[in-house]
Symmetry: C2
Subunit: 423 residues, 2 copies
Amino acid sequence: MSIPEDHIAVEIDALARAARAASRQTLSLPTATKNAVLARIAALLAEKKLAIQKENAKDVAAARDQGMAAAMIDRLTLSEAAFAQMIRGVDEIIALADPVGAIEAMRVRPNGLMVGRMRVPLGVIAMIYESRPNVTIDAAALCLKAGNAVILRGGSEAIHSNLALAAIIRDALSQEGVSPDAAQVVPTTDRQAISRLLTQEENIDLVIPRGGEGLIRFVCERSRIPVLKHYKGVCHIYVDKDADQEKAMPIIMNAKVQRPGVCNALEGLLVDEAVAAEFLPKVVRELRQAGVVVKGCPRACTLSADCLPAADGDWGREFLALELVVKVVAGFDEAKAYIERYGSQHTETIVTENYSLANRFIREIDASAVMVNASTRFNDGGQFGLGAEIGISTTKLHAYGPMGLEELTTRKFVVFGEGHIRA
Amino acid sequence: MSIPEDHIAVEIDALARAARAASRQTLSLPTATKNAVLARIAALLAEKKLAIQKENAKDVAAARDQGMAAAMIDRLTLSEAAFAQMIRGVDEIIALADPVGAIEAMRVRPNGLMVGRMRVPLGVIAMIYESRPNVTIDAAALCLKAGNAVILRGGSEAIHSNLALAAIIRDALSQEGVSPDAAQVVPTTDRQAISRLLTQEENIDLVIPRGGEGLIRFVCERSRIPVLKHYKGVCHIYVDKDADQEKAMPIIMNAKVQRPGVCNALEGLLVDEAVAAEFLPKVVRELRQAGVVVKGCPRACTLSADCLPAADGDWGREFLALELVVKVVAGFDEAKAYIERYGSQHTETIVTENYSLANRFIREIDASAVMVNASTRFNDGGQFGLGAEIGISTTKLHAYGPMGLEELTTRKFVVFGEGHIRA
């Protein structure tokens, strides 16, 4: 699938222009039409399952030949369960309220002019992602529901699967009278295609990369288009001296153990020195019993024989595994300084019964989600009530935290006058 | 003021790091402290006026020596009027409500977890601007009021003025116990300094360029940090066949003539063919009488002898002068297609009494402000009730349209639990 570089440029430019043209149609589609497209996608997924799985099998076979790790092959495979989940995901997006067209904060100015803000689609969104072909359906469904056109660029390892899924989406669009260019898969797996895509600031409004840090940095360094991203989740829990330890223990266990491989899992535990002697040995013991490797500061290691000494590189590390660091701190200020230094602005929790300290934590800690007495695992679009999410942003522009349908829109000003002129 | 390149890199990196450190203090400053800083800035501006004007005179003299155009020298000069306006601007920002800390949309999830969104400062904002030294005060005051640290990089032609104004701001910060690094002026005028600044994505959260298209493109092409910008304002008015011509005439005159050199002035007039024979000659005559050069399509030229034939390059041009294009269109669809092709997503107005067409225009036209029966000149933070504005964004991420205090903030999630864990 390698084609000459100038050919790629021509092809990508045409694709971006076609997306822009389609976005002019999708921006004002009625909700009923968008839902009808999504319902057809769900129906076609069920209908064409065998054909899609056949294409998927080509990707899986190639991945095996190349010696891809079993976990990666697992993510690549469109199993029965993965298929059912894809279809359920589309149905859930159909059920979400359409944010487009809502007018917020309509006010009358002193001169009688009415000024409000209307939610409108962003326009054209480029998704750049790796391995999981189900993202093709999830991302397209969310972008289309919010009235956007979408350009999909999955990993080369999933190209056959992604093209088959894209064909379904385009069929569904056509059948409802919507331009199929509202959802396009970049047909080449050449990385030049990404670089070229990232220069199309006239025709693409937003880029969302999803994948490893390498992919995200590649995108950020080249993009002239705004990027929403999150690099990593290095989440902490601070157990204050006024913590209810009965609450602290399950929160910590849940945050670390329930699903250690995800971005909102706990990676660092901070314990106030006033309660460390009592609480730290208990929590380390429980963590060890759950199979967690606990690495601590010298004081933590003194308090608990189950603690291994942490290496310099362990502080601020995203383990994504049954492993974490524990540190004894002198109080709130040291915990805050630690989080400022090692946190990734993802999720930070304080466990405390102290009202004023909880308020300070909420106000002063800079992260996409700051929590009191709750597991870090709650930082998730579904858990927060946003519905399906397209990612979690740890940068602050436009969206900070989980991004749902609303984050795939923006607001324009609408003005109703009666012949108003400016004095 | 030329210094070696590696020295610039070291200096800029240190400056960005200092800004980040200061932003950790400013993010949770009480409103009273922020207002006290601003009040001191206003007081010091009055107190040190002569000293600042002396520094400004150096810039003005250098600009004269270099043969700078009179209009540019005018913008560079801190006259008595400009000084009074700067001080009044700071007072207006003191009077604005502080958006930081407000919690919106607090909801109780089915499991009892409370989830809301708190307005928080963006962090560190870099302003890159040209010529007008008053931007140093306006931008710093707005950024500080919203709890941000700010890095200011004005034009080389205003360097003495900007350093003198920055000294005032830093004095005011110190006197109120706030780190003076919350407002820093880049001390070198070397363009390498901008390039280096734009790589500091770890320590700068947002870049706002203000100036000519050249400066804005320079910034966009190099920045790894999100940029809020507007390239140009190519605004249109569409006079529908159902327009109240008594309203249309003053709206058009106001939009074109009241202040032709600004981004929300009218640049293109579209007239429905059904009313063109009646309305077009009248409006062209009025425009001509006000000194406006009117360039039209062939049909417009046939209808009015005062119309000059438009050249190809006139369509979509930002004249910023007493000049505009007029085109006869077959109706709404042609007007919409024209705006899609030639508009700059700034401000678009329809003049009509037709309810359904007004609704279609509002919904289907993609611009930061869409208006019915009102002058395009209203697209302005003050006119929209946002208070002082830091610019107008014509890109859609984060802000679309005038940007006030609120657009200098973002929202993080705040979560209140009672020992909640995820199932």
